[in-house]
Symmetry: C2
Subunit: 484 residues, 2 copies
């Protein structure tokens, strides 16, 4: 039978700042017994523990315990230890019905996580096929970071400085005004949105509709009112409608995904970006540009960004997560000298700092020139998959189905006739082994679109074709059902 | 001279969901010129770009461009591209004075970051000497994770499942009621506090005073009122005072660091923990226990925890960060089946998920049994440094200086006479090459203590002695100054 754990006692020392003496131990235990702090039958700390804790000699502790036994306050049990012996005035069960009050919480309103079933074809995911990710090169970079100069022991709250410098240089090459000091590394883009949302004055944020659902859910969770700005995957943003809504609601921030918008696949034209910048100045709202997409641009063509056109007040967020390896979670946000400190402060409050090891690995990856080669490879693969997807859709989709033509990237928007019941279609497809998203999560109100995201980045061409064949089947079945 | 970037145009397709034809291109460009969307002299997208984007043939695009040229709306420049030629009705500079409104933000009230000067002796840091950290073993674990089964491509929002299972098993071995499903992995302990703070109903949180400053700053930033509960490094928590304050303010949460409290080094006795649990039930506040310290316990003795004594409603946070490698940032929080989903939801909103690679590395480290061996080594080293520190203090400190006796761990509290001006002492020490913390950050109001944290975990014994010698000098100089 193991001995019971000893109780933990704090010995109160009378002489300030000096070592405890035997009398301090005797007095503390006697007082704790008298007050009911220590009840009968508890094991006192082993001699070597108090010796060590108080930095005093074994003999001093032993003398104190002997004195306690002599006074009848403790009893020594052979090969077991010293136990309290005398009941206190307020004797009671040392462990009455213990427990604690539960946390009173307000759960954020989030949709249930997507069902993941092994073997299902995920037709709506925004991820890139892991087969296209540079795992071998990343492993090399890990090895290099681990060997010389060895693991970085500490972290920089703003992020690993060499990676910040490398990011700034890349962005300057794309016409953006960026210093290493303006870059703050984040856990994916999500933390960038969280940092901006927390720092933001004003209770109102304008978002594209449909929009990346965790942006909307985050701003709502932070207590912001969301102003939805309708986006048409086929025609783009109706800027007059946007200006009207913005003029009424006067948001303090507009968040926009400017290339391969999630979930529509839409890319803003230069004209539309210029208009947004004009509106920003006219109505006084800040712009947060999420540029997850332009790195995946087909043909490596020029894509404009709000940051390049509008300068340093445009907050620009991007991430290596999807393009390198989701599990790395390295993203960043670029602000201005004015916002840098506040963004770092919000980051300190939420996570103090992030994983310096993976930041160093991404730096190594950029420094070796791997990133551009990798992007070219990914772009070529996505281009091929995109064209294959367009061909398959053209061949397989029944009349009345439309899709957007993003020109590359990871996903497009598939719009189905209103007569199709989307939850029913989703369920039917699920039974056929294909998962599509619940696109209602992209909307704050009643959706003005009737469709969902289709990914060609994640699926190998034969799997994609399989999925689209089943989708065509399911659409026909649903159409027959809706007529019947 | 490089060609200017082409403008980005979204071609509006008339036939729903079908490929664009030449007429769609001509119509879009003509309309955009007429409306002023496209001004004169802009380079239209290269043929291969539109070909690709729209999934149509090169000839179709070329035919459309020829038509535009024929209509006088565009002009072809040899070896350069096609440019818009006709001014629109609303002709204007395509790039007028661009810019954007700056972000309107409310900066969190944080103290300025600590000055770090290479070569300074950091006497107040909470970190452990990197020399004591298991860098070689961690590197081995990284290599193993990187080789077989290779890098984990994706992440689990709750955290890498095998690590959650290993943590649960360890905690059960310490008498806690924990399933793998109750564990949520975090970026250090800071994210655990952030998740709880965001989810918490009620506007009031009780904290020890002095307290880990980023806990207080975080709760204040989340809009919570802070109820300070005075903690005496020499006598512990005056529980009657705590009960009175709690009874008045009725907080919904009490956050406590139960072993080697930061910054006092105080460890709660079993009795005090039982009293806290009783108060939790009586007053209805939840308990968030931060147990960063008990792993560093000298002699590997038993330390009680609120979670072991109080059961599954006690939220328990801990981290591998300081004990393995700060740059890894792997921590966790343990809740109940009731709180698990809300904690994961808050984590999704702030960072979606964290770095699966480092989570897998920590799992490998635990799985190989390295952690216990490592902790024993760290404990032995900290014990030695602790006793050395007590000896040096006893020898060097002038009359009137007191220090707490945590019994091991990383830091103790050094209390100096009220006649010493702390900012002046700090400045004087800084000039002598020793940095101490500004301990006012640990207090929400006027400090009831007059001292600072002294670290023996971070400094090699000779460096620590050097620092304490300079501290003794500086104290004497300050004392003379205050008399003069």
């Amino acid at each position: 039978m193991a001995r019971p754990p000893s109780v933990s006692i704090h010995i109160r020392v009378r002489a300030p700042g000096r070592r405890a003496c035997a009398e301090d131990i005797v007095r503390t235990v006697a007082e704790d017994i008298a007050s009911g702090r220590l009840s009968k039958g508890l094991r006192l700390p082993p001699v070597r523990e108090l010796e060590h804790q108080l930095g005093i000699s074994k003999n001093t502790v032993q003398a104190a315990y002997d004195e306690l036994v002599a006074r009848g306050l403790a009893e020594a049990r052979a090969r077991d230890g010293v136990y309290t012996a005398s009941p206190g005035i307020a004797e009671k069960d040392p462990f009455p019905s213990l427990g604690a009050a539960p946390l009173a919480f307000t759960p954020p309103r989030l949709p249930p996580p997507a069902r993941r079933v092994p073997g299902q074809i995920e037709l709506s995911t925004v991820f890139i096929d892991p087969e296209l990710l540079p795992v071998t090169q990343l492993t090399d970079c890990f090895r290099s970071v681990l060997s010389s100069p060895g693991l970085v022991p500490f972290y920089d709250a703003q992020g690993y400085p060499p990676l910040r410098a490398a990011i700034a240089e890349r962005l300057r090459g794309r016409g953006m005004e960026v210093d290493a000091d303006d870059v703050v590394l984040t856990t994916g883009s999500q933390q960038a949105l969280d940092m901006v949302g927390r720092a933001l004055s004003g209770g109102c944020v304008a978002l594209e509709e449909p929009v990346y659902s965790y942006a909307r859910l985050l701003f709502e969770d932070l207590g912001k009112e969301v102003v939805p700005l309708p986006l048409d995957p086929f025609g783009g943003p109706p800027l007059e409608v946007w200006a009207e809504r913005i003029g009424k609601a006067r948001p303090s921030l507009l968040y926009a995904i400017t290339s391969y918008q999630n979930p529509t696949g839409y890319s803003y034209s230069t004209y539309e970006m210029v208009q947004l910048l004009e509106m920003s100045k006219h109505y006084g709202f800040a712009l947060l540009e999420d540029d997850w997409g332009s790195d995946m641009l087909s043909c490596g063509e020029y894509r404009p960004t709000l940051r390049a056109l509008g300068g340093k007040h445009v907050l620009y967020a991007n991430s290596f997560t999807k393009k390198l390896l989701p599990a790395l979670r390295v993203g960043y946000i670029v602000g201005s000298p004015e916002t840098r400190d506040v963004l770092v402060a919000e980051k300190r409050l939420s996570t103090l700092a992030n994983v310096a090891v993976t930041e160093a690995v991404v730096h190594e990856f950029l420094d070796r020139g791997y990133y551009d080669t990798h992007l070219k490879r990914v772009q070529a693969a996505l281009d091929e998959r995109y064209l294959g997807c367009l061909g398959a859709l053209e061949e397989l989709m029944p009349e009345g189905v439309r899709w957007s033509t993003p020109g590359g990237g990871p996903t497009l928007w598939l719009e189905v006739p209103r007569s199709i019941d989307l939850p029913s279609l989703r369920e039917r497809l699920f039974r056929k082994g294909v998962t599509i998203e619940d696109s209602r999560n992209h909307f704050s109100g009643a959706p003005h679109l009737h469709g969902f995201r289709v990914s060609y980045a994640y699926l190998a061409p034969d799997r994609l074709r399989q999925a689209l064949e089943r989708l065509a089947e399911a659409l026909s079945e649903e159409a027959r059902r809706s007529i019947a």
